[in-house]
């Protein structure tokens, strides 16, 4: 992918006019994130570190206590690496970075986002492995990493994400087997019964009963050529085929 534009964005700092005020650590983290990026559409132009907090920056949403809860940068034509600083946004609920040109690895620091509900990194150029630290994201409901170049196996630790509802790893380069515990079987066995698992290629359907309801969850692992089917517990190690 092209890194033609070397116009590295940096946060505005009106040194001559309004001097930088007492710093805000979330604003600093976002500016560090921005400093690695090329932003030809000037989506991040309003990110001005001389302001007392980032809550008036476009595409940043804060709660009533001026803490960042959403980052809505989908579809913005941004290029660059993600970097570790995003992990400092302890109140971040929605990380929406889909449909850009983010490159490099998924930073393990993203595992520190303890309030995160939605991680949408799909349709980028991300590579490397899925960090095990993402298993710390206890509030996570939506994880969409599809359509990247992610390699390696699916970390077993991700079965700890008990709130996970939608998981999409399709169209990557994953290997090994698909976990079947935790949310990957989705519910603790004493409350729910797994009726059937259907696979077509590497697409897996899990159908459950929950009392009188029947629920369908689709965990998509489509188009991961080296990904084998659901793990056969005890018979093959999870990184079989990697």
């Amino acid at each position: 992918m092209a890194l033609t534009s070397l116009l590295i964005s940096s946060c505005l700092l009106f040194l001559a006019a309004s001097p930088a005020l007492a710093s805000n650590s979330e604003g600093e983290a976002l500016c560090a994130f921005k400093s690695r990026l090329s932003d030809p559409n000037n989506v991040l132009q309003s990110w001005d570190q001389s302001l007392v907090n980032p809550c008036t920056w476009f595409h940043v949403t804060c709660d009533s206590q001026n803490r960042v809860i959403r980052l809505d940068l989908g579809n913005s034509n941004i290029t660059g690496a993600l970097g570790p600083e995003l992990g400092r946004l302890q109140n971040l609920q929605y990380l929406e970075l889909y449909r850009n040109n983010f490159v490099g690895k998924i930073p393990e620091e993203l595992g520190n986002l303890k309030s995160l509900v939605s991680m949408d990194l799909y349709e980028n150029q991300l590579e490397g492995e899925i960090p095990k630290s993402l298993s710390k994201l206890k509030s996570l409901r939506f994880m969409r990493l599809n359509n990247n170049k992610i390699t390696g196996s699916i970390p077993r630790e991700l079965v700890k994400l008990s709130n996970l509802k939608v998981l999409d790893f399709s169209n990557n380069d994953l290997c090994g087997t698909i976990p079947v515990d935790g949310p990957f079987s989705t519910f603790p066995p004493e409350r729910y019964e797994l009726l059937t698992i259907c696979t077509t290629g590497a697409l897996t359907l899990y159908i459950f009963t929950i009392l009188s309801n029947i629920s369908l969850y689709i965990f998509s692992f489509e188009n991961n050529k080296r990904l084998n089917g659901p793990e056969l517990l005890g018979l093959a190690s999870y990184d079989f085929g990697c």
Partner: protein
């Protein structure tokens, strides 16, 4: 009138002829009111031991007072001189005659009181020079002569009281300066000398008082600089030197006074800058008063670091006289007060940042004298009144934040043409008037919010020339008329909120040109006509709310193309008819779907089961029929999500087929409809 006496007034010294009871009764008869002493009488026996307020020793004597250790006559109405016999109480440790009307006392007959630790003559009418006998009470730790009319100097011999920890001499007529020997009373913790005519300098010897916690010398005519050596008194948490003639700078050494809680040097002649480092170094600071001095420079932005600051502080009037003041910033404190009316008169103000404080009153009319204002952010205060009239001519204005105050006035008259204006937020005030067409000339404007005011009239088409506009919110006003189709020219717009107004007529199809739009909220208006299918081109939308209008026709199929829809799709409370398009099932990121209170017919499409991110749905009050789709969001919602539909029911066919195949624990709940 308190008669809670633990002991007797020693004028009642029983002579050898009188019994103790007779002496007590003689005293009682001299009192104005003695109702509490009704039990005192010979008829109750000659022993006063059972009388109210009397305790006897084991021998049955009220006793002489030679063993007395504690004497308090505090807060009575005793008049006349303090009897010198009182000083013969050689064992007394606590001696409090405060809050009476003692006067005309001759101290030369007083003995030294060798045991006394606590001595208070506070709040009487005592006169004369400093009582010499006190200087011989060398065990004194607490001495309070305040609020009398003592005159003459504070004697140097006060240093004999080497064990003093608390010294109160305030509110007298003392003269002759602050003796520097006070610095040798090494255990002194509290030193209160104000409201005298002391004059003279503030001695640097006070820096020897390593345990000093409170230094209060208000209004004493002190005339000197503040000795920087005082920065060595690191236990100081209270300094009040207000209303003197102190001059020179605030000593930088005060950064060492890390326990500082209340700091008041107001009303002096201090000059120089306020060191911003104070606020970093004083984490316990609650009160900071520096007004009425000749302090220069800018109020340090670091004042925002003093998180406990809660003082009632009027901004220094001297601010108005600072000839070069161009930058002024106080953010997110608990400071309150009004902006001085002359503020800005120097004509140099460019940056005024007063966000998130409880400041009140009006903005001074002269604030923008000189028309140099570039940024004015006064959001989240309690400001009221109209805006300064010079604002409309401030052609350099770039950033304006007035949100969440109590401002009034007509905004078209308050503002004019501002070619550099980038950020403009008036949310949450009581502004009136109409949107001027002049806004169209603000060619740099990126954010324009006037939510929650009383703006009326229509949205002028010229408004829509602001092609730089990215975030437009006119919500919760009284706007009428149609949404101008020219809004579709605002190609940079990513947020558009026109909700909660009285806008009517159709949604212009041009809005479909706003391809960068992420949030579109037209809810709570009187819009009519169809949902233009062009809105299906808004493929960056994450929120779409048309609820509470009079929109009719069908839901366009191509709303299913809005694949990024995430936060909300709300078409509720309209007059939509026809089926729910099955393409809506493509909205797999959508978390909340509300189609309630319409006239939608047919079945809920099965494809909606693939909307895996749905947390909440509402189909109630339509004409829907058929089965409810599968999927957690469709089943786990309360029945309220489906009420008001004549023919909806659950789907039991799959349950039935599976029952045949596998032993299941299935509980079937049948609801009576």
């Amino acid at each position: 009138m308190s008669f809670l006496l633990l002991i007797l007034f020693t004028l009642i010294v029983a002579t050898s002829e009188e019994t103790e009871a007779e002496a007590l009764l003689k005293w009682k008869s001299s009192l104005y009111q003695s109702g509490s002493l009704a039990s005192w009488g010979i008829r109750n026996g000659t022993s006063p031991c059972s009388w109210y307020g009397i305790s006897c020793d084991p021998a049955g004597n009220v006793g002489d007072l030679s063993e007395l250790v504690y004497l308090s006559l505090f807060k009575n109405n005793l008049v006349g001189p303090v009897p010198s016999q009182l000083s013969r109480l050689s064992k007394v440790r606590h001696f409090d005659l405060g809050h009476n009307h003692f006067n005309n006392t001759e101290y030369s007959n007083f003995s030294a009181m060798p045991s006394v630790l606590y001595l208070s003559l506070f709040l009487n009418n005592l006169t004369g020079v400093f009582p010499q006998f006190i200087l011989k009470c060398t065990n004194l730790t607490y001495l309070d002569l305040s609020q009398n009319a003592f005159s003459g100097p504070i004697t140097d011999s006060l240093a004999n009281l080497s064990k003093l920890t608390e010294l109160y001499l305030d509110s007298n007529n003392l003269i002759g300066g602050i003796p520097s020997v006070l610095g040798s009373i090494s255990g002194l913790r509290i030193l209160i000398l104000g409201d005298n005519s002391l004059g003279g300098p503030l001695p640097s010897s006070l820096s020897q008082l390593k345990f000093l916690e409170r230094l209060d010398i208000i209004s004493a005519g002190i005339n000197s600089t503040i000795p920087p050596e005082l920065g060595a008194c690191t236990n100081l948490n209270y300094i009040n030197l207000s209303s003197n003639q102190l001059s020179g700078p605030l000593p930088f050494t005060f950064v060492n006074l890390t326990k500082m809680r209340e700091f008041d040097i107001s009303s002096n002649n201090l000059s120089g800058e306020i060191p911003g480092e104070f606020f970093k170094s004083w984490p316990e600071l609650i009160v900071f008063k520096v007004q009425n001095n000749s302090l220069t420079g800018r109020i340090p932005p670091d004042i925002g670091l003093a998180k406990k600051l809660t003082v009632l502080w009027h901004l220094p009037d001297s601010l108005s006289q600072l000839p070069n003041l161009s930058f002024f910033s106080i953010l997110s404190t608990n400071l309150t007060g009004m902006i001085p009316p002359d503020f800005g008169r120097n004509g140099m103000l460019q940056f005024v940042h007063l966000g998130s404080n409880p400041f009140f009153g009006e903005l001074p009319q002269g604030l923008c004298t000189g028309l140099a204002l570039i940024e004015i952010t006064v959001n989240m205060n309690n400001f009221s009144g109209t805006l300064p009239s010079c604002l409309k001519d401030c052609s350099a204005l770039s950033r304006v934040r007035f949100e969440y105050n109590y401002f009034i006035g007509n905004i078209s008259e308050a503002f004019g043409v501002h070619p550099n204006l980038n950020y403009f937020d008036l949310t949450g005030n009581s502004f009136t008037g109409k949107l001027s067409g002049d806004w169209g000339q603000c060619s740099s404007l990126e954010l324009f919010h006037i939510d929650g005011n009383n703006i009326s009239g229509e949205i002028p088409a010229t408004f829509c020339k602001i092609t730089s506009l990215k975030d437009l919110s006119l919500a919760s006003n009284l706007l009428t008329g149609a949404i101008p189709m020219e809004l579709g020219n605002l190609s940079s717009l990513f947020k558009l909120n026109l909700s909660d107004n009285f806008l009517s007529s159709q949604i212009p199809s041009n809005l479909g040109s706003l391809t960068k739009l992420q949030r579109l909220d037209l809810s709570r208006n009187k819009l009519s006509g169809n949902i233009p299918s062009e809105l299906g081109n808004l493929d960056h939308l994450i929120l779409f709310d048309l609820s509470q209008n009079n929109i009719s026709g069908k839901i366009p199929n191509n709303l299913g193309n809005l694949l990024t829809m995430q936060i909300l799709l709300d078409l509720s409370r309209n007059s939509l008819a026809g089926p729910i398009p099955s393409d809506l099932g493509k909205l797999i990121q959508l978390e909340t779907l509300n189609l309630s209170h319409n006239f939608l017919t047919d079945q809920i499409p099965k494809s909606l089961s693939s909307m895996l991110s749905l947390e909440s749905v509402d189909f109630s009050n339509n004409n829907l029929s058929g089965p409810v789709p599968t999927g957690k969001a469709f089943k786990d919602d309360s029945p309220q999500a489906y009420v008001g539909n004549p023919d909806l029911c659950g789907d039991f066919s799959r349950v039935k087929s599976l029952v045949m195949q596998i032993p299941l624990r299935i509980h079937i709940a049948i609801e009576k409809r």
